[in-house]
């Protein structure tokens, strides 16, 4: 501020130029900013993360591009001013006089505060809007999501009694495809309740239709992060965290855990696929059939699972006192502390 207040309106003592310097700075800044903003928006923008494989990813890519375009003139202005000051306003050898004293410059201060406030408030409004549209922007919205894909209805009861029952979802309907994401140390599994409730280690989605992820965990906190889809939702034990997206392009994407969850956290990743509608239906129905024997031993489909309670306990397990899964949750009475 002090440096800006002293120039170009009041150039430092011993410098030449004054308003001419300010004019040149303005012209160069505008020229460079226009060129750089066009380059950022048109050349760099389409390559910004996370890409455009889904509607939410494309929205995030647009947001990052908009922020970069807004930031570009600011960065250029700062660097240009620094360069100009170093090149033209540097102290002459032997000149030990002070620069011109800076007093309150009401005009400059008003302009500065107004401009920065406008930018920040505009970004706040823009950011809030983008967080809502489309459908929560791919973020986990908790168990009762507010922002949902328009025109969709979430099926609430599923036929999991028969693992080979006919699918209750098909493309082109308002019935949104639901995929349950289950985190556990250290792998993701995915359950498809509309296809007999089968569970698999593969995440496969159809292109062009909205998907509802129901994210939960069986142990510690994980974070479901299919990076290229622009989705991120924490997986908390005992909580159903809902996130939405609509894949836009066929292809592969990476699923990572984004919450430090133990020694193999870094290895907790896999790859998902977006297929055409017909390929997805073919995959889902063949997987439903091939995993029918496994689906039979899964617990009844629920939005969360409690490992301290087994849905069925065999007699030998019961006699051995094994009535929870893998030791259950952490018991404070256990002698060894972590």
């Amino acid at each position: 501020m002090a440096a800006e207040a002293s120039s170009p309106a009041a150039p430092a003592a011993g410098t030449s130029g004054g308003r001419r310097d300010g004019l040149w700075l303005l012209i160069i800044w505008i020229g460079l900013s226009i060129i750089a903003c066009l380059l950022v928006a048109l050349v760099w923008g389409p390559h910004m993360p996370p890409g455009a494989q889904s509607e939410s990813a494309a929205s995030q890519q647009k947001d990052i591009t908009v922020l970069a375009v807004i930031a570009t003139p600011v960065i250029i202005g700062v660097l240009l001013y620094f360069g100009w000051a170093i090149a033209f306003w540097r102290q002459k050898p032997g000149d030990e006089t002070d620069a011109a004293p800076v007093h309150g410059n009401t005009k400059l201060q008003t302009t500065w505060i107004t401009l920065t406030s406008a930018i920040v408030l505009s970004l706040a409004v823009y950011g809030t809007y983008e967080l809502i549209a489309p459908a929560g922007a791919g973020a986990g919205e908790g168990p009762q999501p507010i922002w949902k894909p328009a025109g969709t209805v979430a099926q609430t009861s599923f036929n999991c009694q028969s693992p080979t029952a006919a699918p209750t979802w098909k493309p082109g309907t308002s019935n949104i495809l639901q995929v349950q994401v289950i985190g556990q140390q250290w792998a993701w599994t995915y359950r498809y309740p509309q296809f007999g409730c089968f569970e698999t280690t593969e995440l496969v989605l159809p292109v062009g239709v909205p998907v509802q992820f129901n994210v939960t965990s069986l142990d510690v906190i994980h974070s479901f992060w299919p990076y290229q889809l622009g989705v991120k939702a924490d997986a908390n034990p005992g909580v159903n965290n809902v996130a939405y997206t609509t894949p836009q392009h066929v292809g592969q994407f990476t699923v990572r855990c984004d919450e430090l969850c133990g020694i193999w956290h870094g290895a907790m990743f896999d790859y998902g696929k977006v297929l055409s509608d017909s390929d997805f239906m073919s995959w889902a129905q063949s997987t439903q059939t091939s995993l029918a024997s496994v689906t039979k031993i899964l617990p009844p489909y629920a939005l969360t699972y409690d490992p301290t309670v087994l849905a069925k306990v065999g007699k030998v397990n019961e006699d051995l006192g094994l009535t929870s899964a893998g030791g259950g949750y952490y018991n404070p009475a256990d002698p060894e502390q972590p």
Partner: protein, 248 residues
């Protein structure tokens, strides 16, 4: 003290701290269990690897932890490690001697065998035999085990990077589960030392052509007493997790 002497002292002190830090990192943080090298044991495109699970690890400083052991291909002795090396593009025939008792899986999906084949060519299956303390049962191919309804699974051997998951069968009866080996490794002649009820699980898979390092782990949270059963032996190298190095 002169300026050069002070600078020299500072540099030496700095280097000593850096060296100490590197030593600590290598010695403690970067330490890993020994690697059992099976690359020279392969023949005709196959290699046989033997592992063991035990309910206790009495040869370690954590005698009450469950653990895997791996047989040294040269000496035949079971070594307390979970690291092994096999050649690329090779059929790995795994035998797991399962000396631990059963535990319900937290997610029953891990009771399903994937990524393997048996000696008879059955895909996504394992061959199971049970030693009840007296005799070894006949071989039974298994593809899915319900660990909630039956006392059937003690641990798993899973290599997520290869899509491989094998539930390690357990002795199925209450009597057998109350007469488990009390040592680790279980190699003695008496019941307490190793001649105890256990399972013999065999399966095969192929290593990738290009090699690489693949982590493997147990999906039963068997670290009793720790957060969600996933601390202790589940979070310490050399117990219930390890790495398979595939040498191209």
């Amino acid at each position: 003290m002169s300026l050069p002497a002070r600078v020299t002292t500072l540099v030496i002190a700095f280097l000593a701290v850096v060296a100490g830090g590197i030593f600590f990192a290598l010695q403690y943080v970067g330490a890993q269990p020994p690697v059992e090298d099976y690359t020279s044991a392969a023949s005709n495109g196959q290699v046989n690897v033997t592992l063991m699970t035990t309910p206790e690890t009495t040869i370690s400083d954590r005698p009450d932890w469950v653990s895997y052991f791996i047989k040294n291909p040269s000496s035949g002795q079971f070594v307390h490690t979970t690291y092994f090396k096999v050649p690329a593009n090779t059929q790995v025939n795994i035998t797991i001697l399962g000396y631990d008792g059963c535990t319900p899986l937290r997610n029953p999906i891990w009771g399903h065998v994937t990524g393997t084949f048996t000696q008879t060519g059955q895909k996504n299956a394992e061959d199971v035999q049970i030693f009840d303390g007296k005799a070894l049962s006949a071989v039974t191919p298994m593809s899915t085990m319900d660990s909630w309804a039956d006392c059937s699974v003690q641990h798993t051997f899973a290599i997520p990077g290869l899509g491989l998951n094998v539930p390690v069968a357990s002795p199925p009866t209450e009597k057998e589960n109350n007469a488990l080996c009390a040592l680790g490794p279980c190699v003695g002649a008496t019941a307490d030392e190793g001649n105890a009820p256990h399972s013999v699980v065999t399966f095969s898979f192929r290593t990738p052509k290009n090699g690489g390092t693949f982590r493997w782990q147990c999906f039963v949270p068997c670290g009793g007493g720790y957060v969600d059963g996933n601390g202790g032996p589940m979070a310490t190298l050399g117990y219930m997790m390890g790495q398979m190095e595939v040498q191209a």
